[in-house]
Symmetry: D2
Subunit: 401 residues, 4 copies
Amino acid sequence: MNTRRLGIWFVGACGGVASTAALGLAALRRGLIGETGMVTALPQFAGLDLDEAAWFEVGGHDVRRATYRQAVRDLRQRSNVFDPEVVEACLPELDRWTENVRPGTVLNAGPAIDRLADLPEAHRAETARSAIDRIQVDLRDFRARHRLDQVVVVNVASTEAPFPETDALGTVEQLLPALEKRQPILPASSLYAWAALDLGWPYLNFTPSLGASFPAAHELAETRRAVHGGKDGKTGETLLKTVLAPMFALRNLRVLSWVGHNIFGNRDGVILDDPANKASKIRTKDQVITQILGYRPQTHVSIEYIESLDDWKTAWDHIHFQGFLGVKMMLQFTWQGCDSLLAAPLVLDVARLALLAQRRGEVGVLRHLACFFKNPMGVEEHDFFKQFTLLGEYAARAAHR
Amino acid sequence: MNTRRLGIWFVGACGGVASTAALGLAALRRGLIGETGMVTALPQFAGLDLDEAAWFEVGGHDVRRATYRQAVRDLRQRSNVFDPEVVEACLPELDRWTENVRPGTVLNAGPAIDRLADLPEAHRAETARSAIDRIQVDLRDFRARHRLDQVVVVNVASTEAPFPETDALGTVEQLLPALEKRQPILPASSLYAWAALDLGWPYLNFTPSLGASFPAAHELAETRRAVHGGKDGKTGETLLKTVLAPMFALRNLRVLSWVGHNIFGNRDGVILDDPANKASKIRTKDQVITQILGYRPQTHVSIEYIESLDDWKTAWDHIHFQGFLGVKMMLQFTWQGCDSLLAAPLVLDVARLALLAQRRGEVGVLRHLACFFKNPMGVEEHDFFKQFTLLGEYAARAAHR
Amino acid sequence: MNTRRLGIWFVGACGGVASTAALGLAALRRGLIGETGMVTALPQFAGLDLDEAAWFEVGGHDVRRATYRQAVRDLRQRSNVFDPEVVEACLPELDRWTENVRPGTVLNAGPAIDRLADLPEAHRAETARSAIDRIQVDLRDFRARHRLDQVVVVNVASTEAPFPETDALGTVEQLLPALEKRQPILPASSLYAWAALDLGWPYLNFTPSLGASFPAAHELAETRRAVHGGKDGKTGETLLKTVLAPMFALRNLRVLSWVGHNIFGNRDGVILDDPANKASKIRTKDQVITQILGYRPQTHVSIEYIESLDDWKTAWDHIHFQGFLGVKMMLQFTWQGCDSLLAAPLVLDVARLALLAQRRGEVGVLRHLACFFKNPMGVEEHDFFKQFTLLGEYAARAAHR
Amino acid sequence: MNTRRLGIWFVGACGGVASTAALGLAALRRGLIGETGMVTALPQFAGLDLDEAAWFEVGGHDVRRATYRQAVRDLRQRSNVFDPEVVEACLPELDRWTENVRPGTVLNAGPAIDRLADLPEAHRAETARSAIDRIQVDLRDFRARHRLDQVVVVNVASTEAPFPETDALGTVEQLLPALEKRQPILPASSLYAWAALDLGWPYLNFTPSLGASFPAAHELAETRRAVHGGKDGKTGETLLKTVLAPMFALRNLRVLSWVGHNIFGNRDGVILDDPANKASKIRTKDQVITQILGYRPQTHVSIEYIESLDDWKTAWDHIHFQGFLGVKMMLQFTWQGCDSLLAAPLVLDVARLALLAQRRGEVGVLRHLACFFKNPMGVEEHDFFKQFTLLGEYAARAAHR
């Protein structure tokens, strides 16, 4: 196992998830924290030639004026997380990595994200092509300046509103000319995805935005021999749904209704307060129950922005089910998790697994990442344990000798 | 698939679980209810030559003066369960099966159960041997009168106090002479187990009592070519523990503490209000977390008798866990389940599976039943999904062609 | 204290609340149940000359084809409430009272209620005047046929959509001519209210609909020397808000946010699933916090129709508050109450108190009923205990000697 | 209103409550925090001549080797409370006040507290008299060195085991000679109380320990014209009980059972893990329901030490109640409060009120403090709102003109 030089490029560079991941990488490299929360640190993945935290350089795009130092301080003060001593010790890396952050684009990301973006450059691009070109310049520059062997691009930006997909997204051939026009053809998330895949770099979509989940992007990945994966990190309430629904299925208890009420107050929440953006999120959260159970109970998912909660995603779920002789019973749970802290280690997991996959010569959608996502690409299965089995089987195959 | 004549013999014949199972069998036979809550009704078990509800005759031992009619009415009125029309329609079976109920024994079952037993015969036996003999007379008589092909014995009586196991329980040879003596050698639950296994009949222990879980009983089962299984049906809070703990393990989230507080008010609760009996129960409920996680977080389990709840087992669990960068988070759940209704279909499941196993010529502990039990015999695994995989693999092997 | 002949007239005669109230009156009269849940049965009201259950005759308006027998059976089967023996014993009253039910009107009640109404007469009225006239004919007929001393009219129908109030509602003089026209001037709830007050009869609005809460109705009540009260019975989650918010206030703990999520599945829920109708409800549920605290924390109230819950109103509230030295803390509660069963005894309470007030010669809004309502007329106070003090003081004044 | 020089003397000087109170006083004096959480800061007490935070000097007795600097740091790190900047700014006061801390006594405080005490002086006293004398020397010295006008003594030490009260506690005359003997006559908490009252100083018992709640102490307070109050600060779950139980009473809803399960992990929890000490606590927590309701539902209170929770007292309460027509319903709540942060401002409240009372010439038990205590001295009332009315009425009487 040799030392490699690696880069992780965050779309949404100074958001809660990316900032926490950056702090985590710095703290791991300094030996200040353990790997709790990282799936790839489990014994069953010890045989994989995964990259170490110390080998990573961090960069990214953002549409807001921000620094890692400030983003981490905000999280600490508002959400009451992080050990002040750890933050203090990691400031050198955080400040150095801030220099790698470049202005992103809000092209077709919707009005909610538009309002948030205070960098003038973020509003500048006029065609998808010009935006993609600019993104690729930033990516190549990052790689060159730091002489990196591989760079993985991860979307951890705020959720976009659903974007109407047109026929032009069907093939690369149809899409290429449309990229040159001024009509909206792709949302911002897909511009970053296209830029990365076109360079043959691994791309991961940790959000429900469109990203690379359309046919032409799949074709591009095949052509450029790039790996990619998504969508929408499974961090809290949905994780529990995909853990509990299998229990009801295997005990033949009939779920009558499943209500999930989510409240939180971070910047994602501001964006999700816009009904269009919320629609994207709820769609992926709501389908898992039906797939696992094999029938459609009444479900309801709501997400509300409650400012005082900051990054503490609090969810109440009420599950009404029927047992033997028709008796109705109830399970309720309350989840109180800090979202960025749950997501960040999983982001590092999928980044490590995607970099490994690229080195192993894999191409296209990484189906074995299903257990990390609410809406896994290329996999219909939502049962968390069956998804994890996919990952375990992959690890057995991919173990280096 | 031919019609067979089968018997199910309940130790604790008119308790909540057995009464519900009897009502369920009658209602299934009349087509008044579906099989919700029965695991063996799932599609993956369709290939097994399992017995139908209509083929069963019900009997059992009890230490209290009771009838199925009254027991079912009590459950309905106190716990607000059962459709009155269904109960009405099933009275003929319930009354007929009440005639099959015989006085049991409270020998060494502990003072709490002693107090409950109002049948003088239950207090009569003087040696283990004489109790076993009387039990076997009842069992053989039940089989003969109804010309049954097979009878399965299931312990669904109240939980006994822990019984001090002596060296004499090590082998059949050592135990046989001790059975003749007046010194306490085996608790009541083990007398029924011994009686059943000695006849070569399938025996299942749905409680945490000793039953057949000692070396001499294992030896006897081998000798008589009998199958058996247990212990302690996994119906509610513990089921959830064995579903949720794997999630924390696979996400590498460190469980700091797991507190479970159970309240309920049925007759089992009266018995568990006795500290000795409660100790048996808590022991099996508390070990599952540590086995699944592979380390020992602080755990606390309490069970309290709250009369007004009747059969509605209500549990609050508080799970405190640590994620990335040391942040502490919380999951709480409240389970509101009607215990007899959750247990009864599982009792029918294990009865069907044990009868099948006997016909298939299996011998000894039925390890594939692990997913039904809090403290599975012959299996160290507590992860519900891994346990269920054992059952699925068995079903694949045992499918008739 | 003499026997009096009294009538209670329900708008929404065969809905869950009225049916439960009718069953309750019948059961009380037969001595089958106690007065649990009735506030006026508390010792501090023993000195009032309140009417006994046995003196009441029941009638009402409904817009659906229904009988008390069927309505009560539906509630029992769907929501698993009521002792079957009690229902059986009360069928004579329920059937007799069904004969007193007359077709209501859906004039301007909004499309959701329109769809629900399957009685053709309910859709017939063309002007407010003609609807009021028909209502008054039914009311007078009820009183005459049963030779009643007093009749109280109570609105327990489904919640209407908010109705745009025009200037014409400002005085009786302005309103009278508008009643004759075909333009929508008043919603159905206000037609019943007008009909009752115009007869000088007591009127109570147990819903958030407009009812008698507009200036011309107040003027009419004064003129006709009628008493009235409302609005919107305080039965569950809002009751708790008005009990808990004073605690935070008196302990100087700063509420940062208060989120309430309500789910239930009865016919009210179907109506509230219509966004317009839901808006009426949420408005009254949301204001109480701010009034009690004296400042405006972030609040969120949602109400969702979840069919499997039937009449079991389940609410989860999450209260985020700040204590000394800025530390944020949490209180969560889950309320699982059967809505009709909570409302019905309060309906009987306010009916008894309104009949008493009329006999005492009171006129206009009964401010001392504030503790029964989410949005009390004539009282700004939402603190439940302060509201109750108003009632207690009234009782002291009104005690007969 | 003149500047006064005041002292607050904590028994349990460096425990969580006292340390938080000390930090709070320092932060208030520096204007770094507001008065959230302090009852006496509410507008209705603006008319009282209460002392300001800036006028207080802090001292106390402790039985462990400790400093405020370390105690506050421990709380911050373990329980994740306090703004690091606020702590930093207050270190001068914390360090200065640490110099006022003197070794306490563990005489008859029970083995759990004995084990905790690592100061040799704490174990030294041989008779109650010698302990009291030493305490008084420390108290007088504190007052003299800082030239204080008044000093209030507050017991915020860990809960003692219940102490068997003998006849000698009946009068001062009987008790005085017994104090000289070596037989255990009074627990440590009462020695501090006696010392304070004997000096004529105000004494407050914020714990369930015996303190001054025995006849001879009452007599002493009268003789020395001292004021005192207690017992056991009402900060969390019990506060909620005394807020919610009145709702059930006033709505005539019959409480069937009330179960409260408390978990926390601070030093108090270690002490309460000892069954004897826990008994004291549960006793005061359990009685309030019955007093408020006027009948005795089944109640259960448990308190468990769960280390990972540190100072975060988490309580789950399940209230089972019966409404109209016998229907059973449920209310559950989860309280997640940081105990020291809830208690500290109330300690400052009662200290301010006691100092005022002394200046006003009051003598004996301060009954108007009932709303602060689980087990209020001299008051049978547990309804929080009725208790608060007592305080409000006092404030109206005591307002300076």
